[in-house]
């Protein structure tokens, strides 16, 4: 029942907000998000206690063997935890702005949460696809209704690009599903694992491509990233947080949940290519990030670089690679949301994101500077921050896989430091510029979001074991399938 609550509660509240447009939308959506986070917390605690996955199975379309089945194991658990946690901060970050009591805005965010939860919990492949696609609609409306410059064209490109990719996933899924035994077939993910692994190497190769294109566009991986910087820049801050913090994890989650267990032979053929593309993304994204003038765009490219490393790590198919990817998804989600929020705070006060116009904020807001630095260091992967644990494990897995790849991917640590430190220096330090002279202190609401996020960065860096242990069992199950 708990699973159903987690899945449908945000949907109900979101629909309520959209239909009735109440005045106090902020209070309603924030309490919904907190309640959701609590319920998710209880569920995760139960999974951790019993070390068993929690499932819910109900018939959906029995004629074609499609079930409404949900499953929360260690891997899903980390992602629903991330989703529930970040949503409270994302909604919290709208406090005291004109968007806070905008019922449509809050409603769409909650609908988005419901769809993403569904994708992370789905045990049936078509249910996964269903939510994978459905999550696009709220974010599309959010971005093109409340976005910035040239939003219509940019979000439209984003929409068509992603749907185009997921259609390949769709036919790939149908292809495997039709080869499952029984007259009605089955779309249960575990049945698909067995069926897909028995396919010929050639078929697996093509299927790998079909699946990977969908997820690569979602993440995005080089060269499918062209929608991403524009969309991240033009979306409203909360939209960008949703996109970068949680939605791209649907792509990485899809690789772990579907591609790795289903197509070991397919990865054998195309895995190297995919890893090379991911690593190209790491280096390419970092180099472009270094040259950005717009802070939000810089973060967009940094996010692109980070997800490349996650992708490269998990495609090594090793226990460390997948564990590191999961851990880094969590850290990246927390860090990137914090960083985007800092940029929004700066933009609220100065109406600008241009690095050249900013500077000297540290003289007016000490708390902002400290949390910004903590979050940035998490993003740079300094020891004692959560980013360090994730990147370290990921890089180790890539080194184990291939020494050359490891060295090239390792450059990310240097490049990441360059663009992040440049971001800090240009915004926080240096001379006070014309527009930052009257930079007001952080409000209580802003502190309530930034300080906990910074604490999570440090906690994740000091006590990683709880989380690594939480997902280990489920990841082991997947890696054992490969032997």
């Amino acid at each position: 029942m708990n699973l159903l609550f987690i899945l449908f509660f945000p949907l109900l509240i979101g629909a309520y907000l959209l239909i009735t447009k109440p005045k106090h939308a902020f209070i309603i959506s924030l309490s919904a998000a907190i309640l959701e986070a609590t319920a998710t917390g209880i569920l995760l605690y139960k999974i951790n206690e019993s070390a068993l996955a929690i499932t819910y199975i109900h018939d959906w379309i029995p004629e074609v063997g499609i079930q409404f089945s949900l499953k929360a194991d260690g891997i899903s658990g980390i992602l629903i935890g991330l989703c529930a946690l970040l949503l409270t901060f994302i909604i919290g970050s709208t406090a005291k702005t004109e968007k806070a009591n905008h019922a449509q805005y809050q409603g769409l965010i909650l609908l988005m949460q419901s769809a993403m939860m569904g994708a992370f919990l789905a045990k049936d492949a078509f249910l996964f696809y269903f939510f994978f696609e459905a999550s696009l609609l709220p974010i599309y409306f959010l971005a093109s209704k409340f976005g910035g410059e040239n939003k219509s064209a940019i979000t439209f490109k984003f929409l068509i690009y992603t749907i185009f990719g997921s259609l390949f996933l769709f036919i790939g899924l149908i292809f495997v599903y039709l080869r499952t035994p029984g007259t009605t077939h089955s779309a249960d993910i575990e049945t698909l694992y067995v069926t897909a692994r028995n396919l010929s190497a050639e078929a697996q190769g093509y299927l790998f491509l079909a699946f990977f294109i969908a997820f690569a566009i979602k993440m995005p991986i080089f060269p499918f990233h062209t929608w991403q910087p524009d969309t991240y820049t033009t979306s409203p801050s909360q939209g960008t947080m949703l996109l970068s913090g949680i939605m791209l994890k649907m792509g990485t989650y899809g690789v772990i949940r579907l591609i790795i267990p289903m197509f070991p032979l397919g990865i054998g053929i195309w895995g190297n290519t995919a890893i090379v593309l991911s690593i190209i993304g790491v280096i390419y994204g970092s180099i472009i990030a270094i040259q950005q003038k717009d802070a939000k765009r810089l973060l967009a490219y940094s996010s692109f670089a980070h997800v490349g490393l996650i992708s490269a790590g998990m495609l090594t198919q090793s226990l460390e690679g997948i564990q590191g990817a999961l851990y880094q998804m969590l850290s990246h989600g927390i860090n990137v949301i914090g960083l985007f929020f800092v940029i929004e705070i700066i933009e609220r006060r100065t109406k600008s994101r241009e690095l050249a116009q900013l500077g000297g904020i540290t003289q007016s807001s000490y708390v902002l500077t400290v949390s910004f630095i903590i979050l940035s260091l998490g993003s740079v992967a300094l020891p004692l921050t959560n980013g360090f644990i994730g990147e370290f494990i990921l890089l180790k897995s890539i080194f184990d896989y291939s020494f050359v790849f490891g060295i090239v991917a390792g450059i990310t640590i240097i490049l990441g430091a360059v663009y992040t430190l440049r971001l800090i220096q240009k915004t926080m330090f240096g001379n006070v510029s014309r527009i930052t002279t009257e930079f007001s202190k952080l409000t209580l609401e802003e502190k309530m979001v930034l300080i906990p996020l910074s604490i999570f960065v440090l906690l994740g860096g000091i006590f990683p074991n709880a989380i690594l242990h939480f997902s280990e069992e489920s990841v082991l199950q997947i890696t054992q399938l490969l032997k």
């Binding site: 959906w60 379309i61 029995p62 004629e63 074609v64 078509f126 696809y129 269903f130 939510f131 696609e133 459905a134 609609l137 409306f141 093109s144 209704k145 939003k151 219509s152 439209f156 929409l159 068509i160 749907i163 185009f164 259609l167 390949f168 769709f170 036919i171 149908i174 292809f175 599903y177 039709l178």
Partner: protein, 465 residues
Amino acid sequence: MTAIIALSLFGISNLFLGFWFPRKVLQVLTLLFLAIGMGLTAIDWNHELLWFGNMFRTSNTSINFSLIIQLAAFLVVALSRGFGADDEHTHPAEYYAILLFSVVGAILMVSFDHMIMLFVGLEILSVAMYVLTGSDKRNLKSNEAALKYFLMGAFATGILLFGITLVYGATRSFYVSNLANIIAATAPESMPSFLYIGVLLMVVGLLFKVSAAPFHFWTPDVYDGAPTIFTMFMSTVVKTAGFAALYHILSGVFGGIYSTWVLTIYFISMLTLIIGNVTAAYQQSVKRMLAYSSISHAGYMLMTVSANQISSTSTILYYSLSYTLATVAAFAVLIIVSEYQTGRKEKPEDYASFEGLAKNNPGLAFCFTISLLSLAGIPLTAGFWGKFFIFSDSFNRNIIYPVILAILMSAVGIYYYFKGIIFMYFKDGDIEKIEVPTLFKIALWFCTIATLALGVYPNMVKSLF
């Protein structure tokens, strides 16, 4: 079967009732007639029977098709408003009567067991449609459309009839069940070669009716010229009946010589997908866009026909239903908006007419959005499962390339369907609150809710098919 007798009688009585009653009363009466027709159709459920000298067969499949057709007609009648500026100079009684007659023709087309029955049904349906297309007498475009439709349609029917003749010559039978047995029993080499020409001609005649490329040239002009309410009828009823007949012929009669016709259908479906979708993307007018979208949906449905699986019948049924619901809703909103914009905008049927619709008319915008999403095949709507069943059928037959093409074309489809959504939600316009009659509202919301319900729980009807 009693349904076709009843509906014909109702149609005739409608002609007389027109002397005494105004349009609104006739509308309610016609709705009642169609409801009775649906009831009479449903009575035959699970009774496989032959009627009229074994020329007409009722089976669960044909009943399902008949119900979808009558549901579409029911919705069209419920959504019909005045047929022109004043009811004095139009002839509502005649229009409603002709609608009922054409429904009879469509039911014959989905239940024939004899080739002549197919021809009769097709003619009843088509002649009725020629009249309705030209019903806006003072509009030049409507007249042009009617003439065009009539000339092309008559030609296509002639081709169909020629095909029937050749098939009869080769097999000495008109009966569907006989034909299938004869074809199955005869070795392909000993079959006279003009049988294949006959099959091809019959298929061409029917492909014309379902507007598959390259026989689609009439579609945009006729859809555009006809009054929107009859375009709605044409794009749903004619298409459903046409596909039922086409599939019945190809699979039921000529299933034994699958390998001879499959390549033709295979390529026609690909061509239809490309032409329908790519041309739709260039349209400025929503009405013409929907016309091309109807061509593209013919392409998707032809994929199932070429797959020829056991499940294909239920796929066509499901797809027809989801397509009907979505198309009816889309045209209904178009009617309301274009009526509002007449006089305000130069071209009331263009995308530009929808600018800012969502602001003061969130209900209408929502219904239009859901119908477009369903046509685009996005999850949560009926159209998604329609595509799912079609792709499954095609993969079962190892049809790979058309599916990949269909995927590419779906992406194109998303472009032009979402254009409507963008115009409604993200552009500024000055549309005030539009008053919508109650009956209209009920029918519109029925389509929208049914589309969503079938999208979330397709089993609701899938288990019947």
